[in-house]
Amino acid sequence: MIALLRRDLMLAFRAGGGFGLGLAFFLIVTVLVPFSVGPQSDLLATIAPGVLWLGALLACLLSLDRLLALDFEDGTLDLLATAPLPLEAALSVKALSHWLTTGLPLVLAAPLLGVMLNLAPSGYLWLVASLGLGTPALSAIGAFGAALTVGIKRGGLLMSLLVLPLYVPTLIFGAETARRGAMGLDATTPLILLAGITFGTIALMPFASAAVLRMTLR
């Protein structure tokens, strides 16, 4: 398992590995927001938590394509399926490496972008907490979407269509936490609900993903 994680991380950091693309996308989307809604700082402060959450979600979504497709094309998935490692574990590791290379950088970059969007001072902690707790769920759900569409040619758009509705609860609780935090309210309740969703998906989604992947590889 550790070998697989190390290999995936190594691949992500080498040239052409796509590390940083999600982060760059997040940056650009956030920078484009003031251009589209206007520069008024109070307006930006109001929408900042939502914009940051949506940007992080889209950045995660865009990088899902690479989660399984490359390993499918070069035959690695076939070989992994015959290896002693259960597919459930392999998919958990893949989701984890996706989170480490995409989700975690987004969490760390979010406060910086929060400054640019005039996020209220009370919101930073909640923003980082909600993203840190919520993005693993995005990766785990995303691995399921990637497994569903890995055998389909040009499955990228279809994957977005399948994954985005599944992202709704995570987005709602995550953005709600950040928003309440920014308004200076207590955001513990949505944060706990978000944690529930995240732990639930991390625990259960790999089984669904592996089941689906076995169907596709067959």
Binding site: T149, L161, L162, V168, P169, F173, I197
Partner: protein, 244 residues
Amino acid sequence: MSLWEYANPVKFLGLSARVQPFVWGGAGLCLAVGLLWGFFATPDDYRQGSTVKIIYLHVPAALMAINAWFMMLVASLIWLIRRHHVSALAAKAAAPVGILMTVIALITGAIWGQPMWGTWWAWDPRLTSFLILFLFYLGYIALWEAVEDPDTAADLTAVLCLVGSVFAVLSRYAVKFWNQGLHQGTSVPLATGGRTVSDVFFYPLLISMIGFGLLFLALVLYRTGTEIRLRRARALLARSERGA
């Protein structure tokens, strides 16, 4: 003699052909009675005026939109556990009907909402939930279309339906939480469920709900038959190609 015998496509087609006239007839009768009674023989609501009468389309459609997904869930489980092809095809056949019901519910809701709430659309939890349901239907149908091998498509969509159901329920609660969280005390009166309306409105509503249910059943039977014949045509074609 058990119910599972009708999992055989030929047997199913036979039964479906015998039952369908009655289902269609019943659907037509119930819809005609329910809608005509509702539209012309009930008094206007003292508060809502005659706009209330859209309830006879709106509530049954919304009911069937959810029930269709529930039926797909059950059919998907039967396919995953017992591998009955009819079950998988019935789930496939129900999805477009379900999405149609969802769209009817959303549109009639908007038409009803405009004079009542002064807006076509509000991010009310109930409306939002239906919008999310619509997205789930869309993804489900798209996945059926995208996978070439029919059995793999049935497998993948069945798992999607299962996982989707869980997330649909989660979304329902998330949306409730979300809207009460910030937008305190929206003045939107929730679309009335059957229990809160008086008898004058209730009986025609009940009849049109039964009518929508029968209509759904008829459409699903009909469409499942089409899917079965499509698969049969494929199988025959494949056989004749190999035989030649």
